[in-house]
C-alpha cells in the first residue's frame, strides 16, 4: 500500500511517523494513538476510503485512497462539466420559516436564500457562489427531512 494517499480537506497529508493506532473498542471506534512518549485518545469511524478521526474533540474527515481509487476519482472529475447547476439540500431536518428568493433572482455569494429552524435555532441557508436561482422546491411552513432538495442554482 505504498502508493496509498491520505488527504484532508483536499490536501495530501503525510501521516505522522512513529505513531501507532491501538483500538480500545473496535466496535465503537475508540482507540489510542501511541508513540511510546505520549498517548492521544481518538475515535476513528468510517470505512473504505472515507474516514472521520476525532482528535481533541475535533472531527476530521480523512480520505485514504489506494492508487487505483485515485485514478478512478480523477477520471470521474475530468468527465464532469465545469459549472454545473447546484441543487442545495437540507443538511438537517427542520421547519422552513422563510424563503427569501424566487426563481430568476440573481444572488451573490453568501446571500441568504432561506431560513430553516432546527434544534430550536434559526439557520440561514446562503448561496455558495453567485448564481441565478433556477427553481425553489420548498415554501415557508414546510417541514423538510435531511437531504431534501431546497432549491437549485443555475
Amino acid at each position: 500500500m505504498s502508493e496509498t494517499e491520505v488527504r484532508i480537506g483536499g490536501e495530501a497529508v503525510e501521516p505522522a511517523d512513529g505513531w501507532r493506532l491501538d483500538w480500545a473498542d473496535h466496535r465503537n471506534g475508540t482507540g489510542l494513538l501511541v508513540n511510546g512518549e505520549r498517548v492521544i485518545p481518538v475515535v476513528v469511524e468510517g470505512g473504505g476510503s472515507e474516514w472521520t478521526v476525532t482528535i481533541r474533540g475535533r472531527r476530521i474527515p480523512v480520505t485514504v485512497r489506494t492508487w487505483r481509487e485515485r485514478l478512478m476519482a480523477e477520471a470521474e472529475t475530468s468527465a464532469r462539466g465545469r459549472i454545473a447547476p447546484v441543487a442545495l439540500k437540507a443538511t438537517l431536518p427542520g421547519l422552513v420559516v422563510a424563503v427569501r428568493v424566487a426563481p430568476g433572482d440573481e444572488v451573490g455569494e453568501g446571500d441568504p436564500l432561506l431560513t430553516i429552524e432546527a434544534m430550536k435555532m434559526q439557520n440561514e441557508v446562503r448561496a455558495p457562489r453567485a448564481a441565478r436561482v433556477a427553481s425553489v422546491a420548498v415554501t415557508a411552513g414546510q417541514v423538510v427531512a435531511t437531504g431534501a432538495e431546497l432549491l437549485t442554482l443555475e
Binding site: I8, G9, L21, V42, V43, G46, S49, R58, M119
Partner: protein, 505 residues
C-alpha cells in the same frame, strides 16, 4: 462514643411522587434528587423520546404526545394529564419548556398539585422582561440604558440610545430573539428577524431595546428562597463565554469580581427578589462593565442549566432544596449561610459544530466515554448508541470540575476533557479543549464577545493534528482489511512497542 446529630435531612419524603416535566440531562438530574429524597420520579416523553435515557431512569413514564414540542413538552394540558394519570403530587418543570410559564404554574396549582418553582404571579411579572426592568429600577438596581416600553413599528426613535443596541424579546430569555444592531440602516431587518424568532420561540413578538455594554461580562447571582421569607444568596457565576448570546461555559467564583463588587451584586440581587413575591430558585443576571459597574438584565425564575457550578462551590443541593421548600420546609442556617469553597467550572457539551458557527449537528452518538475521578461531575442526558432527536435543544451533557482554586480547576478540566471521547457527532468538546489552553481564559480575561473574537470559526487544523488524523485513518483502513484479527494484531500497542524496543536493544 456519642453520635453526631444531623439536622438538615428531611425526616420523611416531601412528596410521594413527583412528575418531571422535562427531558434529557435535566430530567435525569431532577430524578436523582427525587430518589435521594425518597420520592418516586415520573417521566414524560414524546414519541421521539420513547427510548430516551430519562425515561429509563423513572419509576413510571407517561407519553405526552408527538415529537413537536408544542404538542408534547410545551403542552400544558398533556403534561397535566400525565401528572393526573401518574398520581404525582408535584411537578418539577426543569428549565426551558414550561418552566417559566405562569399559565402552567397556575394550572398546576389549580389542579391541586404543587408547582416546584416560584409563585405563578412572579413568573408572570418577571416573564415580561420590560416589567422586570421597571421593577428593578424601582428597587434602586441599575439597569442597562434602553427602552422601558416595547419598540413600536420600525423603531426609528431608538436612534436616541445610540448604536450599537441590542434588541431583545420581552417574553424571552436564553438568548433567543436577540439581535445586535450596529447602525440605523440595519434596524428594520433586525427588528423583523428578532420579532420572527421571538414569535416562534415564545409566541409573543414584542421586543425592546438596550444599549450594548461592551466589553461586558455576564455575571449572575443564584437565589434560593423558602415559603417563610428566608432568602439564601448562593454566590455568583460568570457566564461570559457565550456564542449567539447563549452560554457555553460557566464558573464560580467569577474571576472578574472582587469582594466589593460581589457585595454589590448580592445586594442588587436581594433587592430585585425583594420587589416581588418570591420562593424557590431564581437567578438574577447582570452585565458587568470594565469598571466593575453592574446592570440588571433579567431574573430567571427557574433552575439554571449551570446550577451545578453553585452546588460544587457551596455544597448545597439546589434541586433537592427546590423540592423541599416547595413542600413548605424552611431553609436551615446551613443553607442560608453556606460557605463557598474552591472553584468550579462547567462546560456544556452540545451536539453542534463549533468549526461551522456552532451549527446544530444532529445524528447518532456512537462512542460516549465521559471522564470521572477526583473533582469531576458529569450530568449527561445520553449514553452510547443514542439517536439525537432534531426537535429539541442539542445539549448532551455538562462536564463540571471542582478544585481548590481556579488554575487547579482549569488543569482538572483539561484532564477531564482529555478523557472525554464522543463518536458519531461533532460536539463543542473541541472548542472547550481549545479554551482551556487559551492564555486569556487562563488569566480570567474574557468577555461576552470572547468566543466571537478569539474563536470565530475555530483555528485552522494544525499540522500535528492533521498528520495524526492521517496516521489514524491509514492504520484503521489497514486493520479493516483483516476481517478477524489474530491475537498478535489485537494485543496492546504497548506490548508491541515493548517488543520492538526489546529487539532494538
Amino acid at each position: 462514643m456519642s453520635l453526631r446529630t444531623d439536622i438538615t435531612a428531611p425526616s420523611r419524603p416531601p412528596f410521594k411522587r413527583v412528575l418531571v416535566a422535562n427531558r434529557g440531562e435535566i430530567a435525569i438530574r431532577v430524578m436523582r434528587a427525587c430518589r435521594e429524597l425518597g420520592i418516586s420520579p415520573v417521566a414524560v416523553y414524546s414519541d421521539a423520546d420513547a427510548d430516551a435515557l430519562h425515561v429509563r431512569r423513572a419509576d413510571r413514564a407517561e407519553r405526552i404526545g408527538p415529537p413537536a414540542p408544542g404538542e408534547s413538552y410545551l403542552s400544558i394540558e398533556a403534561v397535566l394529564d400525565a401528572a393526573r394519570r401518574s398520581g404525582a403530587q408535584a411537578i418539577h418543570p426543569g428549565y426551558g419548556f414550561l418552566s417559566e410559564n405562569h399559565a402552567f404554574a397556575r394550572a398546576v396549582e389549580g389542579a391541586g398539585l404543587t408547582f416546584i418553582g416560584p409563585p405563578a404571579a412572579t413568573l408572570e411579572m418577571l416573564g415580561d422582561k420590560l416589567a422586570a426592568r421597571r421593577s428593578a429600577e424601582a428597587a434602586g438596581v441599575p439597569t442597562v440604558p434602553g427602552t422601558t416600553v416595547a419598540v413600536d413599528g420600525d423603531g426609528p426613535d431608538l436612534a436616541r440610545l445610540g448604536f450599537p443596541i441590542m434588541l431583545k424579546a420581552a417574553a424571552g430569555g436564553g438568548g433567543r430573539g436577540m439581535r445586535r444592531v450596529d447602525s440605523a440602516g440595519d434596524l428594520g431587518d433586525a427588528l423583523a428577524s428578532a420579532r420572527r424568532e421571538a414569535l416562534s420561540a415564545f409566541g409573543d413578538e414584542t421586543v425592546y431595546a438596550e444599549r450594548v455594554v461592551s466589553p461586558a461580562r455576564h455575571v449572575e447571582v443564584q437565589l434560593l428562597g423558602d415559603r417563610h421569607g428566608a432568602l439564601a444568596v448562593l454566590g455568583e457565576r460568570d457566564c461570559s463565554v457565550q456564542r449567539r448570546h447563549q452560554k457555553l461555559v460557566e464558573e464560580s467564583p467569577s474571576p472578574a469580581v472582587d469582594e466589593a463588587t460581589r457585595a454589590e451584586l448580592f445586594e442588587s440581587a436581594r433587592r430585585v427578589a425583594g420587589a416581588v413575591e418570591f420562593h424557590n430558585a431564581a437567578t438574577v443576571e447582570f452585565l458587568l462593565d470594565e469598571d466593575g459597574n453592574h446592570f440588571f438584565l433579567e431574573m430567571n425564575t427557574r433552575l439554571q442549566v449551570e446550577h451545578g457550578v453553585t452546588e460544587l462551590v457551596t455544597g448545597v443541593d439546589m434541586v433537592a432544596w427546590q423540592i423541599r421548600v416547595a413542600a413548605g420546609e424552611p431553609l436551615p442556617p446551613a443553607v442560608l449561610d453556606a460557605p463557598r469553597s474552591g472553584h468550579a467550572i462547567e462546560v456544556r457539551i452540545y451536539a453542534e459544530d463549533p468549526y461551522a458557527g456552532f451549527a446544530p449537528a444532529p445524528g447518532r452518538v456512537t462512542a460516549w466515554l465521559m471522564p470521572d475521578g477526583p473533582g469531576v461531575r458529569v450530568d449527561a442526558g445520553v449514553e452510547s448508541d443514542t439517536d439525537l432527536p432534531s426537535e429539541y435543544d442539542p445539549l448532551l451533557a455538562k462536564v463540571l470540575v471542582h478544585a481548590a482554586d481556579r488554575p487547579a480547576a482549569i488543569a482538572r478540566l483539561r484532564r477531564a476533557l482529555d478523557e472525554t471521547l464522543i463518536g458519531g457527532v461533532q460536539t463543542d468538546a473541541g472548542f472547550h479543549r481549545w479554551l482551556v489552553d487559551h492564555p486569556g481564559f487562563a488569566a480570567g480575561r474574557y468577555d461576552t464577545s470572547f468566543v466571537e473574537r478569539e474563536w470565530g470559526r475555530g483555528p485552522a487544523l494544525g499540522a500535528e493534528d492533521s498528520a495524526l488524523a492521517a496516521a489514524a485513518a491509514l492504520q484503521a483502513r489497514r486493520t479493516e482489511r483483516v476481517p478477524s484479527p489474530t491475537p498478535a494484531d489485537t494485543g496492546s500497542a504497548w506490548g508491541r512497542i515493548g517488543r520492538e524496543e526489546a529487539l532494538r536493544e
